[in-house]
Symmetry: C2
C-alpha cells in the first residue's frame, strides 16, 4: 500500500495546549507521527506524519475540526503570511506512492473539508486545477484579506466550498508536491544585507541555482541567515547550496557559522559526515525521514 | 441533520443475483432503502435510498466497489445509452437539505470514487464545473465510446480520476438536482406516431410545457406511451401534463388508457383521487416518497 507524507502548516505556534490538542487530533490508527515543530514568532506549527491515503484523510479532517474550534484567525497575529487556521496541507509521495495518488488524496480531502467544515479550499501545486493556481505564493497573494476579496471573482473561486471565508478558520490550500527540504545556513555577521545579497544570488527566480527558493533573515545581533527551500534536492543538493553560500560569504569576508534542517530530510540528501561537510548542527543529525518511518 | 435522496442508475437489469448483491452493498447503517426498480430490456436498475451525507457517501462507495467487480461494461448490452457500470448518481435535497449540501456531497463522493476505484467521474447538473457539463445528455453524447474518446481533450477531462475509462466499469456521472418525477401516460393505440407527435408537442425543448422532457415509445401491439421526466413538478404538474396529453390524443381520436409513476413522487405532486383524476394505476398509489421516509 502507498505510504504518503502529510505536512500541514497550522496558524498556531504559541499556545502549548492548543498545539498539543491539534497533535492529539491528528493521532489515530494508521498514522505515524514523524515530527512537530512550532515557531512562536511566526505563530505557526508544522506537523509531519505519514500513512496510507484513507487514514491520512481522516487525520486531516480531525485536524481541521479541532483547528476550527481552537483557532480564530481574526485575532491571530504573526509575521508569516497565512490564509487559514489550517493554512497549507501538502501531500508528498513516499514509498510505493505516486504523485497521482497524492493528487487524488488532495482532491478528496479538500472536498470533504469544504463539505463538512465549510472552509473554502484551494488545490495547489501538482493538484492545482490550472497553472495560475499552482504556486502557493500566487494563491496567498494579499494574505487572508486578499484571498477573501479575490474568491468572489470567477477566476479565483475556491475549488471546493463557499466563496467566502469561514468566520474563524478562513480558507485553506491543499495540494500535492515532491519532497521539499527546508534548509538554513547561518552566517557569523550582523549585516542583513550580506544574507539578502547571497539569497538573491542563489535563488532560482533571480537566475541562481535551479529548484532553490531563498530569503535573507536577521536572526539576532550577531547572526544572519539564508533561509531556503530546496524543491528538488537530487538536482540541487544541500552540499551544492552550502558550498555556493560559503563561497559567496567569503567574498564579503563572512564565515558560515552552522547550517540547520527544519523538519525532515531523506537519508540520501545528506553527505557523509554532514557535521563536518555542511557544518550541520549536531542535534539535526536525527532529522532523517527514513529513520522515523514505520518498517516495511 | 440534512436528509438527502440518492438515485443511482446501474447498468444491470437482468441478473437477479447481481441486482440483489448491489442492493446489499448499498444497505448499511443510516441508509433508508426506499425503492428498487429493474428493467430487463434497458438492462438497468434504479436504486432509491435516503440518508445523511456521510452514510450516503459510504453507501455509494460500497455500490461502486461491488459494481466494479460484478459488471463488465465491455460485454453489456441494452437499449439505454450508458457510460458506466454505475452510470449516473444524482443526489437530491429532501428535508433540511439544501442544493449546496448535495453539490458538496456529489463532489466528495466523485473524488473518492475516482481515488479508490480509478473510475473517471464527471460532475453534472447543479454540481457541474461548467455550463457545458450540466446536461447529462451532453455528457453522455456518443455513449461509452464517445466519452472515452472525448475525455482525452482538455475541455472534456473528467472532473476526477484518470483520462481513460476503467477497464470494466467505464466512467460515471455524479451530480445534484432537484426532485424529478418519472411519469408515463399510456395511450390505447398501436400508432407510435401518435405518441411521438404528442411528445414533441408537450416537451419544453420543442416549445411545449416548461420543465418537461418527453419521448414517444411503442409498448406493445396495442399500447403506445408518452414517457416523461417532470423536472419541476410545482411549475408543471402531473395533472397539467395529463390534461395536455389527453386533449392532444383526442385530436387523433385516441383515448388515455392509464398513467404510471416510475420510482417515487412527493405527496404534494399527486392530486386528490389520482386514480380517477390521472387514471393512475392503482398499484402506483403507494409510490409516495414521504410514506417511505424515516419519521422525523
Amino acid at each position: 500500500m502507498p505510504l504518503i507524507e502529510c505536512v500541514p502548516n497550522v496558524s498556531e505556534g504559541r499556545r502549548a495546549d492548543v498545539i498539543a490538542a491539534l497533535g492529539a487530533a491528528i493521532a489515530g490508527p494508521g498514522i505515524h507521527m514523524l515530527d512537530r515543530s512550532s515557531d512562536a514568532s511566526h505563530n505557526r506549527t508544522v506537523y509531519t506524519f505519514a500513512g496510507e491515503p484513507d487514514p491520512l484523510r481522516d487525520a486531516v479532517l480531525r485536524l481541521f475540526a479541532a483547528a476550527v474550534d481552537a483557532i480564530n484567525l481574526q485575532i491571530h497575529d504573526g509575521v508569516h503570511p497565512r490564509i487559514g487556521a489550517v493554512d497549507v496541507v501538502p501531500f508528498v509521495p513516499l514509498r510505493d506512492a505516486t504523485m497521482d495518488d497524492c493528487v487524488a488524496l488532495a482532491k478528496s480531502t479538500a472536498a470533504l473539508v469544504a463539505e463538512r467544515l465549510h472552509v473554502p479550499a484551494f488545490l495547489y501545486e501538482e493538484a492545482a486545477s490550472n497553472e495560475e493556481r499552482r504556486s502557493l505564493s500566487n494563491l496567498r497573494r494579499g494574505g487572508a484579506n486578499g484571498v477573501a476579496l479575490r474568491m468572489k471573482q470567477p477566476a479565483w473561486r475556491p475549488d471546493f466550498g463557499p466563496d467566502f471565508p469561514h468566520p474563524t478558520a478562513g480558507a485553506t490550500a491543499i495540494g500535492a508536491r515532491p519532497i521539499l527540504i527546508a534548509y538554513n545556513v547561518n552566517l557569523a555577521s550582523n549585516r542583513l544585507g550580506v544574507a539578502q545579497r547571497i539569497a538573491r544570488l542563489i535563488r532560482e527566480s533571480s537566475g541562481g541555482l535551479p529548484h532553490v527558493k531563498a530569503l535573507g533573515l536577521q536572526l539576532d545581533h550577531s547572526i544572519v541567515q539564508v533561509s531556503m527551500n530546496l524543491t528538488n534536492y537530487k538536482e540541487t543538493s544541500m552540499t551544492a547550496v552550502f558550498d555556493a553560500i560559503a563561497r559567496d560569504a567569503a567574498v564579503d569576508g563572512v564565515r558560515v557559522l552552522e547550517s540547520e534542517i527544519v523538519g525532515l530530510v531523506p537519508a540520501d540528501a545528506l553527505p557523509a559526515d554532514p557535521v563536518r561537510r555542511l557544518k550541520l548542527r549536531a542535534q539535526d543529525l536525527d532529522r532523517v525521514l527514513e529513520r522515523r518511518l514505520p518498517p516495511l
